[in-house]
Structures are given as C-alpha cells and as structure tokens.
C-alpha cells in the first residue's frame, strides 16, 4: 500500500495524476513516519553492481533512465519532497508551500553531523555536501486578485470598478502604499489555510463564457488546476530532447501540444511573427516585397552552409550586423533576430544562422510552429524519464539527501545517517559546496491573468526596452495546456538577469499587463489599460544558471559527476548533451537510451506467474522487500471532479484491468524511507 502511493506520487505515472502528486506524497510521508524498514545493507556491493546515486533534474533523470535501461542499479535521492528539482512543476498550493519552505530553509543544518561521523571508517576522507539550495534568490510574491471571499465572485468583471475588495481580514495587507504600483503580500499570511473553508463547499463549476471576477480564494480553490513550472522552456520539435523522447520510447508517458503562435512585441504592439510559409502568406503586416525578402532569406538559412560566400565576410562579426547588411527591412531584421534566431547582440553570424536554421528545420514536424509544450507542464519531462528509470529498476527516495561523500566516492551518508555504497555519484550543481558559481542567472516569474481572447499557447519575444535591459522571453499558456484553470492564463517571463528578477521584469509586465494598484481593482473603463490582461498573481525569482560552468572547475572525485541546473536557453539541448556525455563517462560501452521494448516483446522468466513487475523483482528482492501483490496500477482518473472526492487510498484500489499503454508497464513500487 504505502509503496503504491509512493510510486504513484513520485514517478509521474500518468501526467493526468499530476495534480495529486503533492498531496499523495504528504499522505505517504505521514503514514511512514517513524517506520524504518529500509536498510542500506540491502545493497551488497560485493555481489551487485553498485548503484549510481543521483538527484533528479532533467539531466539527472535522463542519466538515471539511461543507466537503468542498460541494467545499472540506480538510486535516486532528493532532499525535496517533490521531483525534478528546479525543473519541477507545482500546483498553486504546492508552489505556495514551496515559497514558504524557501523562506525558512536556511536554518536546520547543524546537529546531525555527529550522527553520521560514526559511520565513517578509519582513514576515509569525507566531503561534505551543501544541504541548502542556493539556486533560487530574490523571491518575491505579489497578489493582485481580489481578496474578497469567494461567495462574492458572482460580481461581473464588467461591472464598474467599484472598490469591492472585502473588508480587511487577517490577510489584508497595507492597502495604501501608493508610491508603488504593487504592494507586497506577506507570503506567510496568505497561506491556503485561511481560505480553506469555502473550498470544500460544493461550488458550481464556473462557466467559461461568463466573465467572472477571479478572486484569490478562487485561485487557491482551483489551485490544483495549475501546474507552474519553475523553468520555462519549450521543446524544439527537432531538438535533442524530442529525438531522445522518441528514440527511447519515453514519449509514451507524456502528451504534447504544438505551440500555436509566435508573437513579438514591437513598438509597444504585439504582432504575430511570420515564420512558416503559411504565416508569411497570411501575414497582414508584411508587404508583398517583404514577404519575398523574408522567404528568400529564410530559404537561404535553411542550407546556408552550401553558400559560404554569402556570409564569409561576416564570420567574425555579430549576426546583427550581418542581418543589417542583407536586403531586409527593419521589420524583418527584427523578426529574424529576436523571434526566429532568438540570439543576442554578441552572437556571431554563423551561430545566428545556425539558430535560424534550427528553428526552420523544426517547423512543420508537428505543426506550423517549431515548438512543443508538454501538457501539465515541463516538470512532466523529468518525471517521464524517472518513470522509465523506475520501470527498469531504479529506486526513488524523496526527502532524503546526502550529507557527505566518503572516500572518493565509495559511499555516501544520507541525511538519516545511513551509509550507502555506490560506484558513481551524479549530483546537481546545487549540492556542491564551496565551489565557484554564479556566473549568470536568469530570472523568471509567473503571472496569471484572465480574459484573454483565445485558447492558445504562445511564445512572445520582447526585445530590450532600453539598452541596459535584457530581452525577455514570454511563454503564455492557456488552460488547454493543463497548466492553469479555465479563464486564466499562465505566463512565464524569462530573461538573463541584470538586476533582481523584479527590477528586470517589472517594466515589461507593466507594459503588457494591467497591474492593479490594489487587489481586485478593475481598470477604468475606456482607458487603454482596459485592453490589457489583468494580473492576478506574480512571483519573481532569480534562478542560478550554472550551465556555463566547465565540469573541470569542480575539485571533486572522478566518479562524482556534476549536473548543472536548468540553463537559460529556450530549448533543452544543453541538458541532453550533458546527460549523454555524463552517461558516456559512466558507461562508455553502452548505448544511450535504446528504445524501451514493447510489453509484448518482453520475455518473462517465471512464466507461470507472469507478473507485470518482473522488471522489479530483482530490485525488490535485493531490498529485502516483497514486491509481490503490489502490482496494482492506478486507474486513469478523470481529473476534475474525482480529485475532490477520491482519497488516495480509495483510488489506488483499482485492480489491473484496463489495457492502456501504461498499464502494461511493470509498476512495482520500490519504496524507501
């Protein structure tokens, strides 16, 4: 039972269950409190291939899946209670607790040291790991949604902007902070608990057509409909990640949507970027001649290597200069530079051309834009690889971290003072202490707003507003992407940071969105602000981008492999390349992520039993736990209504009966705590 829950909660089963992940975990952890059933000695390094130990971000998940796939033993530890590290997606409520955790994290670091000291054998060296996540900084949260109780939400948004925020309750902040447009919410006060009551009352589902005012309470109540990613990335449809998903059959664990449009902000106006043939044909803002120029240039970019004479003179000069030398109007230069190539002023010509080429090659594979977005958020992707890893015997363990490495590295000591032997250690950059870091950071934040016209997933590129500010990349997700509740949009803005996230992004936000001066305030009718989407909630933070760091700059044992966190680029190629190169170091002779076999092609040893959990039998045995009888699988639940009613225990009773793809995958839960 406990195992099942753990598995379901953790390894990302079907993306549809995403919304329940957080709660499941907490239920499980509660049940498990104080039960110490797992013992390190279950691993016998003398007999077994010693496990690789990892922490899951995208890179780590891929490495784990790849190792596990070729028969390596993998133990996956994470000090957090969620998967995927900085790649994670949260429900709104999950995000709020994440924020809380972040606020109070820098305390408990001391005491346990003595506990594990005694596990160290004579003469062994110890390397202590960082236990505090320092990759996130400058976290700030603002709430603009009306804080009136939910019962009053019937007020139409169109009704004239009366000051209808409710009377001051215990969460009301100082409202008259006028010199600033926004004002900060003390995060701790707006914890879900205060608003919890109305949540459980049966409420009619909001009719999407009716413009209802969205209150903060409503957001919290519908919090599970949100899947807010910490990083905002898209998948290039011919990028390495998509290729890997296909090659390894991991794609079967996730669903994707094609991005529906690519926009850019130019002269204060949002315009569609014509990037495909159909776009150029249909574009209203380009003249005929511009259409020809653009198509001509793009056609050239598709096989620019064949025409070196066209760009040789500029090979040492920036792409921007090259664009200006071509017969392109200013309009077109802008489109190509900031929305198609998506490069910066320093990028050299050839790199810019290559970026353009990559973009163009991705067009048409799945639709008229080159990008895919995973339903339920980007956090799905690491989870899919985790699942793959688990299918082939990987073991996962949350809220469980490593304090130190022993002796180059023969073993690690976890936060419970246990010693775990291992042959390799793959570790996220954030665990490494005392190393050089913080080369560049990128900031990002989420807003949601409502009342936007269409159900689209869009990428908007906003060029620098002035010379000192960074170019901002904005991804707008509608509820069709399963990342936010109907009637709202989730918007991610990302840029390389100059100052703090708020300093960098506030100008863009105020330009493109209506930011109420007090929660719940409406834009005055008729003013231009009225056209803008209304902001409900904003979170700013900076995340460290360590991707530029050279692995050799870490003074670490050779069998410790450092994975950097998410990088700032839009695609995922960096992480995949890194994963593959780490895998090559670990296992030079093995294939990287060969296709997972179809269930019908798997030969089961003990034919009589034919358990679906065959793949796990070994792992289970090694752990001294019985996997038998735990192969029940989760029945796909229709997300919305059932969420409320079905308790984890109840929903997990369903027997193995339907034959979806997922159901044929062994799902024995390796459980640890």
């Amino acid at each position: 039972m406990r195992g099942k829950d753990f598995y379901k909660g953790g390894v990302g089963c079907e993306c549809r269950f995403k919304a329940e992940t957080q709660r499941r975990n907490s239920v499980f952890l509660h049940v498990q409190a104080g039960v110490k059933w797992w013992c390190v000695s279950g691993y016998n390094p003398a007999v077994e291939d010693p496990p690789s130990v990892k922490w899951p971000g995208l890179t780590e998940s891929v490495i784990a899946a790849a190792c596990s796939r070729v028969g390596q033993r993998v133990l996956h530890l994470d000090r957090r209670n969620y998967y995927a590290g900085n790649w994670a997606s949260f429900t709104l409520n999950g995000l709020l607790s994440w924020i809380e955790e972040y606020k109070k994290s820098p305390d408990d670091q001391t005491d346990v040291e003595q506990e594990w000291r005694e596990k160290i054998e004579e003469g062994e060296e110890v390397l202590t790991l960082n236990s505090v996540d320092s990759t996130i900084s400058n976290l700030e949260v603002f709430t603009y949604a009306s804080e009136e109780p939910e019962e009053e939400e019937e007020v139409k948004a169109t009704s004239v902007g009366t000051q209808n925020s409710s009377g001051p309750d215990d969460t009301t902040p100082d409202k008259d902070d006028d010199e600033e447009h926004q004002h900060q919410e003390p995060e701790n006060e707006q914890t879900p608990e205060t608003q919890e009551e109305p949540e459980n009352e049966p409420q009619p589902e909001p009719v999407p057509e009716v413009k209802k005012k969205i209150t903060y309470a409503k957001l919290i109540k519908e919090g599970r409909r949100f899947n807010i990613d910490l990083v905002s990335k898209l998948l290039y449809s011919r990028g390495l990640l998509v290729d890997l998903l296909i090659k390894s059959n991991v794609s079967r664990y996730a669903e994707f949507k094609n991005l529906s449009r690519i926009l850019t902000c130019r002269n204060g106006k949002i315009e569609q970027v014509p990037c495909s043939r159909a776009d150029v044909f249909g574009s209203k803002q380009l003249s005929m001649v511009e259409k020809r120029m653009l198509m001509k240039f793009l056609t050239f970019c598709l096989d620019f290597e064949q025409h070196p004479e066209e760009f040789q003179d500029f090979s040492q000069k920036p792409f921007w200069d090259y664009l200006r030398s071509r017969s392109l109007t200013e309009n077109l230069q802008h489109f190509v530079f900031s929305s198609i190539a998506m490069v910066d002023q320093e990028t050299l010509t050839e790199e810019g051309l290559r970026a353009t080429q990559h973009f163009l090659r991705c067009l048409g594979r799945y639709g008229n834009t080159p990008f895919l977005f995973p339903l339920y958020g980007l956090g799905e992707i690491p989870q899919c690889f985790c699942r793959m890893c688990a299918v082939f015997g990987g073991i996962y363990c949350l809220r469980h971290s490593v304090q130190c490495l022993v002796n180059m590295v023969k073993a690690v000591i976890d936060t419970h003072g246990q010693r775990i032997s291992c042959s390799h250690l793959v570790v996220e950059d954030g665990y490494i202490r005392d190393e050089q870091r913080t080369r560049s950071r990128f900031s990002e934040r989420c807003i949601y707003y409502n009342f936007s016209p269409c159900m689209q997933i869009s990428l908007v590129t906003v060029p620098p507003l002035d010379s000192s500010s960074p170019a901002v990349r904005m991804v707008e997700l509608s509820s069709s992407s399963m990342t936010c509740m109907p009637g709202t949009y989730l918007v991610h803005l990302t840029c390389s940071s100059v100052g703090s996230a708020r300093e960098d992004l506030e100008p863009v936000i105020s330009k493109l969105f209506y930011v109420p001066s007090s929660p719940g305030e409406e834009p005055a009718p008729g003013c231009e602000e009225e056209q803008k989407p209304v902001t409900l909630w904003i979170m700013f933070f900076n995340m460290r981008d360590s991707s530029g760091l050279d692995p050799s700059c870490y003074t670490l044992p050779t069998n410790v492999h450092v994975c950097t966190g998410p990088d700032a680029s839009l695609g995922n190629d960096y992480s995949i390349t890194l994963a593959e190169s780490v895998f090559r170091q670990l296992l030079p002779d093995e294939e990287f992520c060969p296709p997972a076999p179809n269930p019908e092609d798997i030969i089961y040893d003990g034919d009589g039993t034919q358990t679906e959990g065959a793949a796990f039998q070994e792992a289970g045995d090694a752990l001294g736990t019985s996997a038998a009888g735990e192969e029940e699988e989760e029945e796909p639940q229709e997300n919305d209504q059932s969420e409320e009613s079905s308790e984890p225990a109840a929903s997990s009773e369903s027997a193995a009966q339907d034959s979806t793809n997922e159901s044929e995958v062994p799902e024995t839960p390796p459980t640890l705590e």
Binding site: G71, R277, F281, R292, I603
Partner: protein, 578 residues
C-alpha cells in the same frame, strides 16, 4: 548482464511476423474463394456482406467485392424496412471509414461512399462534410476526397459563401493546393458575378453548376466582379511573392487575368472568280460537315456545294473550301452577293463580289477581334498595368523566376504586343537560359508571338505580304489568319517543315523560305495559286514518294533524291492536284 529486461531478438520477431503474415494470407484466400462461390451462386445475403467486409478491410482496392456488396445492398433494400436500411447503410459508412484509414486514396472506397450516401434514406450530410474536412486536414491534396466533397456539397446545398470560406481556410494553411484554387475559380463567379453578365441562377445551390449551358455564346457567366477580382489578385500575389516557385498560384493568377473565350463566328469569307471557289475562315476549328454550313449565292441557296477542309487530313479546321458550280461567278461583268450561314451558331457573313474584281473578301481583322490578346484580354488596361508593375517588382527580387517572367510576357502581350516586342524577346532569352528544359516550348511561344505581331503589322499596313525573315521562328501558327496572303517570306528562321495548316494559305503565290532547316515539302501540296518557291539552303533529305503533278518540271533545279545539305530549290511551281 543481470538486471536487464529480456527482449525477443529481431530474428524471433521477424519469424513471428512471417508466420502471422502466412496465416493472414491463408485466411484471405479462403474467404476470397468463399465469396466468389457465393457470388456465382447468386447468394445475396448478410453473410456475404460480412465476408466482403473482412476482405475489404485489409484490401479496400478489390473492386469486384465492392460491386458484389452493392448487389447485395440493392437486394436487401427490396426486402427490408426503411429503418433497417438506414441502419444497414450507416453501418456501411462506418465500415468505409475503416477502409479509408487503410488507404485514404482508394478509388473503390470513395466511390462506394458516394453511392451509399446517395442511397441512404436519411443522409447526415454534416457528418460527411466533417469527414471530408478531417481527411483534407490530413492530406489537403487528396482529390478523391475533393470529389466526394463536391458531391456532398451539391447534395446538401452548402451555401457558396461558406464554401469560399472553406477554400480560404485551406489556402491559408497551405496555398500550394491546386484543388482549393480551382474550387475558388468555380465559386467566385457564382458568388460575385460580374454585373451586367447574367447572374448565376439562384437555384445553383440546389442543382449546382454546369447544369445549364449559357444560352448565348456572348455572355460567359464565369466572370467575376471587379471588386472581388482585386481582392483575388492580392491574395494570389501574396502566394507567389511568398513562394514564386509554386506554380499552383501562378495558374490561378493566369485564370484570373484571362478567361476570355473567343466568340464563335465566321471571321472571313473569300471568293475568287478564277478558281470559282469560296474559302471560309472560322474563329476556331469546326467541322463544317456537321455544323450546318449553308452557302447562299445571289439569294439562292446552293444545295449541292461540297465543303472540304483546307487539308484533307483535317476533320476540324478553321478554314473550309467549296467549289462553286462552274460558270456561276466567272463572268467578270457580273456582280454577285454571297452569304455564308453557320446555322448552329446563328451567325452568318456576307461578301460582295463586285464587277471587274477577280476576287473579293469580307473579314474581321485580327486587330478588330483583339485576337492575340485573348489569353489575357478581358481585364481592364489599368488592372493589367498594375499587375504588370507587381510582377516587375517581383522580377527585380527574383530575376531568375520563370513563372514571373512568363507572366510578365503574357501581361505585356495583353497590354501592347507591338510596343513591348523588344522586352518580350529579351525575356524569352532569359527564360530559355533559366529553364533550358523547356527552351523549345519558349521558342515556339516566341514564334507564335512574333507571327501575331507580324500579322498585326500587316493589317495596319493593309497589305497581303507577310514578311517574317530572320526572327528565329521555330514553328508556324495562326496560318488561318493568312488566308488572304499572296507573298510570304520566311527566310533565315529555324523552321524544319511546313505544317499541314500551311494549306490554309489559299491565296499564296510566292513563298520564300531560304536558310531554314526544312526537311521536306509536305504542306505545300494543297496551295492552288502557288507559283514560286525558293528553298535555298535547307535540309531536304528526301522528297515524298507520293506523286504529285508538277507540270513545270523544267524549272526544278533540285535533285529530289540526294542527300543534300545545301539545295538550290528554285521556282518550283506546284499545281494543286486536288
């Protein structure tokens, strides 16, 4: 290697697949035989339906089975209630969908679907339309689906404007689609007919297009009002500016620019006292023997004249001849009035042969008819002018684009064939260079235009001398326009032969064709008035074995049966044998 999932080897998988296939084949053959025996026994039962369904699912292109199914269904129709029939046919539609998934371009399946839809007691056209849309979203050039869709639209009476929006949508997602463009060209005249021309009948929606041929040849209902045309020009220009190498847009563009059909009329009547013959030229090739051609001479219908085409090989010809009764016009002091009636087209042409004249004619000149502009003639000059500007703009960006070049040439011809002659020639030169695969086509087209220009010049000068030397002609055309020409000079071109149409030059007396590459004299046999032929420096390799009477044989300075590269072939007078 422990810890790994064991997977079947490729060989194992192959073996399994092979076995599976063998088994399938066995079943297939058994069922097929069973069906054939049932059919020959005349069994039209549901079991047969089941069997054929089984086979067609895996092979939807088995036409015999579809036929058998129809036989069965027709039979079941007679014995079942309407509700049952409805159910039966609905199941059939569902089944066809699975066949279409197997092969979306199966002739048999689509045809059967059309048949079933027409038999269905209560058809659900909305569903059929959405099926078509789904298919077209997967492959927007599946013409089977287009065909079927037209059938559905016709049957269900979808409004024309909705259909136009539909083509908008398809063209928007991919303009490289002949079907969509073509569909537009049929919808526009219905939705935006040119004012003045006969409006499309409102009942079109029900019985759709092409049911009633337009009553009069003068009104062509497939014209579109100007306002809409301008929008179309913009749309299609967007397409060819985006991708000038995509020919679907260019084709549509040419349709937009020129949809003139030449009026059907008698363009010329010629009568000669000496030969006692009449030659009639039509605006297009006709078969005078079936079209009801009637000759009236001085008020008397000539019953017994025999019409023959200019060349015995042509059953359809733009030029027809007939001998008048001997002595009927030979007296030079008599005046005669001639009328040729073209009964079928309700048109006629008069010709008066005055006293003292050896011959007479009455005609519309090519200039009057704006003959050589007809390809792109209907548009207003201003529109054509601005289109020419757009294309020239595109050419500046894409100097090598053949479609653009060709369209420019056509526009120039429509605007001012003589004024643009020099530019036209230059463009043809470029065309031959950028598209060498079609250089002969361009040469022929250029020849055609040169001949047209010369005809125009000749008419302006009001002479019967046609001189076209040194123009790189590769072919001869428009010879029906040269009915009255007496002298023709074709020297220094690249002609390789005289086409049979050359016999239309019924008045030709002198032919000069030196310095060509003419290989034989075919084409010159049916010219009644020919007196002088000069064929210096040609490539006459053999003369035809067909004997023809050459009375003035003494004048022949050539050797028929030699392998000659250079021939002095001077003054061959040929008398038409007829």
């Amino acid at each position: 290697m422990h810890g790994r999932v064991k997977v079947k080897s490729t060989a194992q998988q192959e073996e399994e697949k092979r076995k599976g296939r063998e088994k399938k084949l066995k079943v297939y053959l058994t069922v097929r035989d069973a069906i054939f025996s049932k059919r020959s026994n005349g069994e039209l039962d549901e079991e047969a339906l089941q069997f054929t369904q089984q086979l067609l699912c895996s092979n939807p292109d088995f036409a015999t089975l579809w036929n058998y199914r129809r036989e069965i269904l027709l039979h079941l129709e007679t014995v079942k209630e309407e509700d049952e029939i409805q159910k039966l046919y609905e199941a059939e539609l569902f089944f066809i969908e699975t066949c279409l998934k197997m092969n979306p371009k199966s002739y048999g399946s689509w045809h059967h679907r059309g048949w079933v839809s027409s038999r269905l007691p209560r058809p659900d056209w909305t569903r059929e339309l959405s099926l078509c849309d789904r298919c077209l979203s997967l492959d927007d050039r599946n013409f089977h689906c287009w065909d079927y869709r037209r059938l559905v639209v016709k049957a269900s009476g979808v409004p024309v404007d909705q259909e136009l929006q539909f083509t908008d949508r398809l063209i928007g997602s991919n303009f490289s689609n002949y079907s969509s463009w073509h569909y537009r060209s049929t919808l526009l005249p219905l939705l935006h007919p040119e004012p003045g021309s006969e409006p499309a009948s409102p009942c079109r929606k029900q019985n759709n297009t092409h049911t009633s041929p337009t009553a009069s040849p003068q009104t062509h209902s497939h014209r579109v009002c100007e306002e809409q045309l301008l929008k179309e020009y913009e749309l299609v220009q967007n397409a060819f500016f985006t991708d000038p190498n995509d020919q679907s847009a260019w084709f549509y563009y040419r349709w937009l620019l020129g949809r003139a059909e030449r009026e059907e009329l008698i363009s010329c009547v010629y009568v000669s006292r000496e030969g006692e013959r009449v030659a009639v030229a039509f605006s297009k090739p006709v078969n005078a023997l079936t079209e009801g051609l009637m000759l009236v001479l001085d008020g008397q219908q000539q019953q017994r004249v025999e019409w023959r085409s200019a060349h015995p090989r042509f059953r359809h010809s733009p030029v027809w001849l007939c001998e008048l009764p001997p002595g009927s016009v030979s007296d030079i002091n008599n005046e005669h009035n001639l009328t040729v009636h073209w009964m079928e087209k309700h048109t006629h042409r008069d010709c008066a042969l005055y006293t003292g004249r050896p011959e007479s004619w009455c005609r519309d000149s090519a200039t009057d008819q704006e003959l050589f502009r007809s390809e792109l003639s209907v548009e207003k000059t201003s529109v054509l002018q601005s289109e020419l500007q757009s294309c020239t703009q595109l050419l500046e960006l894409e100097p090598q684009n053949k479609w653009c070049l060709l369209t420019i040439v056509l526009l120039m011809r429509a605007l001012d064939p003589l004024g643009h002659e020099k530019e036209t020639l230059a463009h043809f030169q470029t065309l031959k260079e950028v598209d060498p695969m079609r250089s002969s086509y361009y040469s022929d087209l250029c020849s055609k235009f040169m001949i047209e220009n010369t005809i125009l010049k000749m008419e302006y000068a009001e002479v019967r001398v046609f001189s076209l030397s040194d123009k790189n002609l590769s072919t001869l055309c428009h010879l029906d326009q040269l009915l009255l020409v007496t002298h023709i000079n074709l020297s220094s071109n690249q002609l390789v032969r005289f086409p049979p149409q050359f016999s239309m030059l019924q008045c030709l007396e002198v032919l000069e064709a030196d310095d060509n590459a003419i290989g034989n004299l075919e084409g010159l046999y049916h010219l009644p008035k020919l007196e002088e032929v000069s064929l210096k420096n040609n490539r006459i390799l053999y003369a035809t074995k067909q004997s023809c009477s050459i009375p003035a044989a003494s004048q022949i300075m050539c050797n028929y049966f030699h392998f000659l590269l250079v021939i002095y072939f001077y003054c061959v007078a040929l008398h038409a044998s007829c």
